[in-house]
């Protein structure tokens, strides 16, 4: 077999084993098991719905009901959490596995990739739950659901690029973890997850155009809740950003990965 191909194949095996273990560590060790994949976002959903819909009276959707708000919120939370959890965890993943990197010859990019894929699997469980709930409340899944894999794919590209970049930079400057935590918090509130997009004042709308996550969340809602395909322009712009993110993140990582063992 061609050595390059063999290398790729090995990385694939390794990635599968790492993701498998990461998922096991997340769910199998605890008493609740896999149920936590549903319980955790569900509890968050309850809290957020209570705060924003019942207390702050944020209303949107045609009916303006609490369930419509809950679905809207959940549909935004799922991709956001997959992204932000990955960004936060991948920042420290190389430092956390420093023993491996220093002592074993080992393709380190498997580590951020593992983080991203694990979170996507968790998101997938949540999405299944969301589709079922939406169906129950009258949003029968339409053919637009077939577009979901496209969204997940570009989302993985975008997240992976950022994960690779953050993991690299954090090897040099450990403070990055702190910045990332604060940055993600700000980013979350700048993304229309808890509030309808229309609530943003006209003069601040440009923020949405520059926020790839707002675009992604919007596309998720179109496909899952409105039962219509997203605007092709949105997909093109997001996919472009994702490709750029992946290219830059990958380049940054591969330029530096030989130094990791010395720096950790």
């Amino acid at each position: 077999m061609h050595p390059k191909l063999e290398h790729l194949l090995r990385q694939r095996h390794l990635l599968r084993d790492f993701v498998g273990r990461d998922l096991q560590a997340k769910y199998v060790g605890s008493t609740g098991g896999i149920a936590w994949a549903v319980i955790h976002p569900l509890l968050l959903l309850l809290v957020y719905t209570f705060v924003f819909s019942v207390i702050l009276q944020v209303r949107f959707g045609a009916q303006g009901s609490v369930t419509a708000f809950a679905l809207y919120l959940y549909c935004g939370l799922l991709p956001w959490h997959a992204f932000s959890d990955s960004a936060a965890r991948s920042t420290s993943c190389l430092v956390a596995h420093r023993g491996l990197i220093k002592n074993v010859r080992f393709p380190a990019k498997v580590l951020p990739a593992t983080v991203v894929l694990t979170d996507v699997v968790s998101e997938g469980i949540g999405l299944g739950f969301l589709i079922a709930a939406a169906w129950f409340f009258g949003h029968a899944p339409g053919w637009s659901l077939l577009l979901l894999p496209v969204l997940v794919t570009v989302q993985i590209m975008f997240t992976l690029g950022i994960a690779l970049a953050l993991a690299t930079v954090n090897v040099y400057f450990r403070d990055v973890e702190q910045f990332v935590r604060v940055g993600l918090m700000v980013w979350m509130f700048l993304t229309p997850i808890f509030y309808p997009q229309e609530r943003i004042p006209e003069r601040l709308r440009f923020l949405l155009d520059w926020n790839p996550m707002a675009r992604l969340v919007g596309m998720y809602r179109a496909v899952l809740l409105d039962g219509r395909p997203f605007a092709l322009r949105d997909l093109a712009l997001y996919a472009g950003t994702a490709a750029l993110s992946l290219a830059l993140g990958y380049a940054l990582f591969t330029r530096n990965h030989r130094k990791f063992a010395d720096l950790l």
């Binding site: 090995r10 273990r21 491996l100 220093k102 010859r105």
Partner: protein
């Protein structure tokens, strides 16, 4: 055919005193430097033939592990060329990638994957790994329930299950009890017999002498000597001796040995306990077979009828090795009454020194033997620290017993 070839290989680390200095240097974009260079290894030339077993020895911090990491490829040389012909597997630090929450079985499979095996290969090797570690009873229990010995056994078993062309081993990893150590060496010998190239880092000249065809001696990141174990042995022992001397001297200065309890009626004061070599100069590191003289100064404050001076020798783990005084001796030396105001020195020479490699401490005491039960005058625990370094002959244990061998056949 060469398995390894290094041509003027060097490894430099950039050391930043504070993390912020790295940022400063980045912002200055190379116009100012905020780090200093640390050469862990320099001017390494090696030509290791296929199927050879080479040893790398040297005092701590000489660059041994840097050599290993360069060869296994976890780090890259800053300069020079390093050719490695064949697959390499390194046993550097055991148990990397083990997750204590998971079962031994799951950890073995995962570790195999990390070391580059496919699932099928890992499954095929699983049985022999657990056989080697002898952990069948606990293999499905979480690794966190293992004793540290069991943990290391499992990790070692996984590490040696890889079948590379070139094996790189840090000897500190042949771990556990004597039985398992024996198994580890047997496995390494097995690699040798099958014509694999082995690079072996060790702190023990004895092991290197038994296993290695050739030895590289490193000091301060450079090759100080190269040759058979016999050829570099003296140089190595001298180096270790000097390093240990400095280390133990510093520890002794800081008072690592003092702080032990002291009691007695104080009629004689023992003031300064020193360890001297044959020439009478103070030293802190000795080799087995050297002459060790323990000298103490004393000052008499009040008359003592039958003073007896003595020494207790302890190993660092607290093992009481020997208690000696000049009365309990084949040729007892009686000291007459000592009168108040007198001063003097007591010298006790142990020649040849039968102690083997290790750290030892001394207790010094003076008792009055004029009564049926000796009365403590000045008893000081742990007054002096000294080191025994490895000798030219391989020996195991605490002491070298005087022996005479005969074999009838």
């Amino acid at each position: 055919m060469l398995a390894l070839r290094a041509h003027d290989v060097g490894k430099k680390y950039e050391v930043f005193r504070r993390p912020a200095d790295r940022l400063k240097e980045l912002l200055w974009a190379g116009r100012r430097s905020f780090h200093h260079d640390l050469w862990a290894l320099r001017h390494l030339y090696l030509e290791v033939p296929r199927s050879a077993t080479w040893g790398v020895i040297g005092p701590n911090g000489a660059g041994k592990s840097t050599v290993l990491k360069l060869i296994t490829g976890t780090t890259r040389p800053t300069c020079g060329t390093l050719e490695v012909n064949g697959s390499v597997s390194g046993i550097l630090e055991l148990g990397q990638g083990f997750n204590p929450e998971f079962s031994g079985r799951s950890n073995v499979m995962m570790n195999c994957s990390i070391l580059g095996m496919s699932r099928a290969e890992a499954l095929a090797k699983f049985e022999s790994i657990v056989d080697f570690a002898e952990l069948w009873e606990v293999i499905d229990r979480p690794v966190r329930t293992y004793s540290s010995g069991m943990y290391l056994r499992l990790a070692f078993a996984v590490a040696v299950s890889v079948d590379p062309d070139i094996l790189v081993v840090d000897e500190a990893l042949a771990v556990g009890d004597e039985y398992f150590r024996g198994k580890c060496y047997a496995r390494i010998n097995d690699f040798r017999r099958r014509g694999k190239t082995i690079l072996f880092v060790s702190h023990s000249l004895g092991v290197v002498r038994n296993l290695c065809d050739r030895v590289i001696l490193l000091q301060n990141g450079e090759v100080a000597a190269q040759g058979t174990a016999e050829e570099v042995a003296d140089e190595y022992l001298r180096m270790v001796h000097a390093q240990e001397e400095a280390r133990v001297k510093a520890a002794d200065r800081r008072g690592a040995a003092s702080g032990g309890p002291r009691w007695g009626d104080g009629r004689i004061e023992i003031r300064e306990v020193r360890s001297l070599d044959r020439a009478g100069t103070e030293r802190h590191a000795f080799a087995p077979g050297d002459a060790l003289t323990i000298e103490a100064r004393f000052r008499v404050k009040a008359d003592v009828e039958r003073p007896v001076f003595g020494v207790g020798v302890f190993r660092s783990d607290g093992t009481y090795v020997s208690g000696i005084n000049h009365l309990w001796h084949e040729r007892p030396l009686a000291v007459g009454p000592l009168r108040g105001g007198e001063t003097g020195r007591v010298r006790c020479t142990i020649d040849p020194l039968p102690l083997l490699k290790g750290t030892y401490y001394l207790s010094y005491f003076c008792y009055d033997h004029s009564e049926a039960v000796p009365v403590a005058i000045d008893h000081q625990e742990r007054v002096k620290l000294f080191q025994v370094v490895e000798g030219p002959v391989e020996m195991h244990g605490i002491v070298a017993l005087p022996t005479r061998w005969e074999i009838e056949r």
